[in-house]
């Protein structure tokens, strides 16, 4: 089932994210793809995430696809101008990739090539417009294409951004520019997320809640202090701090993630989840099981 079909069928969708390797060896990737077999609806390939240079998201998406998974290519505007973005989009379609998540992309200053020239010839909303235009069989300049693309376009949103209003306005612009579904920044606080969802529902776009497992209270505090739009409630931090050992803190984090997912699903708060495992991929099946998403 395609991601679009899955989301439109009303099932609670699960997507996961895989970072391409820094190098050419894809053994680990193949292992993860095996691990996710039959368990997730689609797999995202990240695009030089945090501005750290890795294998291209396009190449990894093709590997994901060849492995039999539904692939989502993430595309940022940091490293490519409008020519390169369009030609990569045409290439992605030709390779069979049908889902693309458009994002502006972290600034190079955050990454491992700080001296690089950041591009940002377009940004996320304009990239979505570009995708729509290619889908309609024209390039950005209006020139007809020999064969249009057929992308299901997604985007990202930060439900707990501060200030929230300009972020919500940008969210609306993304919908207007053709985003059909959204992956959110990691969420922890259901009450806050509900406020965002009541707004998002009005816009008619599908929403996958971002899930990042907390390993311990230090990580939670780090996210709160350093990452835009992440707010781990004090109660969760206390719960992690109360766990006596490293292993038990992790189990607590996993339980909390599973609890959150279960509630999102049971109360039909959003349309699914997007798991950003960041090194915890091995535990994803376990989290899903605890959340009641897997029968085995």
């Amino acid at each position: 089932m395609s991601l679009q079909e899955a989301l439109e069928s009303g099932k609670f969708v699960v997507t996961a994210e895989i970072a391409p390797p820094k190098g050419t060896n894809t053994d680990e990737i193949k292992h993860l793809l095996d691990l996710y077999d039959g368990r997730v609806d689609a797999i995202n390939a990240t695009d030089n995430q945090s501005a750290v240079m890795r294998m291209s998201s396009l190449a990894l998406s093709k590997i994901v696809l060849d492995h039999g998974h539904e692939a989502v290519v993430q595309m940022t505007c940091r490293d490519r101008n409008r020519l390169a973005l369009q030609s990569d989009l045409l290439g992605a379609h030709a390779l069979g990739i049908r889902n693309v998540v458009a994002m502006t992309g972290d600034h190079v200053i955050a990454g491992d090539h700080k001296q690089a020239k950041p591009v940002y010839d377009v940004e996320s909303v304009q990239l979505l417009q570009m995708i729509r235009s290619l889908n309609e069989g024209r390039d950005m300049m209006g020139t007809p294409l020999k064969g249009p693309t057929g992308f299901y376009a997604g985007a990202v949103v930060t439900p707990e951004a501060n200030p929230l209003e300009p972020q919500l306005i940008k969210f609306a612009k993304k919908v207007q520019a053709g985003a059909k579904y959204f992956q959110t920044q990691a969420i922890y606080d259901i009450t806050m997320f509900n406020i965002f969802m009541s707004h998002a529902r009005k816009m008619g776009a599908k929403v996958l809640a971002g899930i990042v497992v907390l390993k311990n209270e230090r990580m939670a505090q780090y996210l709160n202090d350093n990452i835009a739009g992440i707010r781990v409630p004090a109660g969760m931090i206390a719960e992690l701090a109360a766990a006596p050992s490293k292993a038990e803190k992790l189990e607590t984090g996993i339980r909390m993630a599973a609890r959150l997912i279960r509630q999102l699903k049971e109360e039909r708060i959003c349309d699914g989840i997007h798991i950003m495992a960041i090194g915890m991929e091995e535990r994803v099946p376990e989290i899903m099981k605890q959340a009641g998403l897997l029968s085995d």
Binding site: H107, I109, E123, Q126, P166, I169, K173
Partner: protein, 222 residues
Amino acid sequence: MIITKKRDMDAILDNIRNYRHVFLLGCSECATLCATGGAEQLEEMKTLLTAQGKEVTGMFVAKTGCQVLGTKVELRQHAEAINAADCILAMACGAGTQTAVELFEDKPVYTVNDTLFLGNMTRLQQFHERCSQCGECILDKTGGICPVTACPKGILVGPCGGCKDGKCEVSPDVPCAWVKIYERMKRIDQLQEFCNTILPPKDWSKNTKPRIRNAKETKESP
């Protein structure tokens, strides 16, 4: 104004290591306000160079260093000192330096400064970049705040997801340009316009370098 910053003295001395006689050329406009090319800085430079065994044959603060013809006329009275110099040290911006390059075809010219940006002086000798001379101004669409310059990504629809508590993802010391634009447009009663506008990607053909502008042409045509 054009903001400049004096380079490392070692790099300056290394550039002129083969020359003993030096002429100093400053500028009374931006470089003076930036304290990189005013009369005081020329005096300081003279002292420094003398201590290094160099001989300063003369020095002059041009009225407007990027005004080629005016500077040419002004420098006439220094012809002798310039002739006696093996090289010219330009204490101006990159444009002012190239005025000297253009005027003195057979003399080496070195700049003393790094040219940083076009900005405003917000407090004494405190400068903020405000315009990137993109070639097609969009301030009329953004509440008068320039996202091409104030947003490190130069994005035209914002804010991006990196905005944290109103600050930019690039530095907690920098306010997010798009939050500022949002707040300003709200304050001047243009929130609806903020919501409704999706600016198109910029036309960078307006920025093809080197740009030449003949202001006379437009004046003559009605």
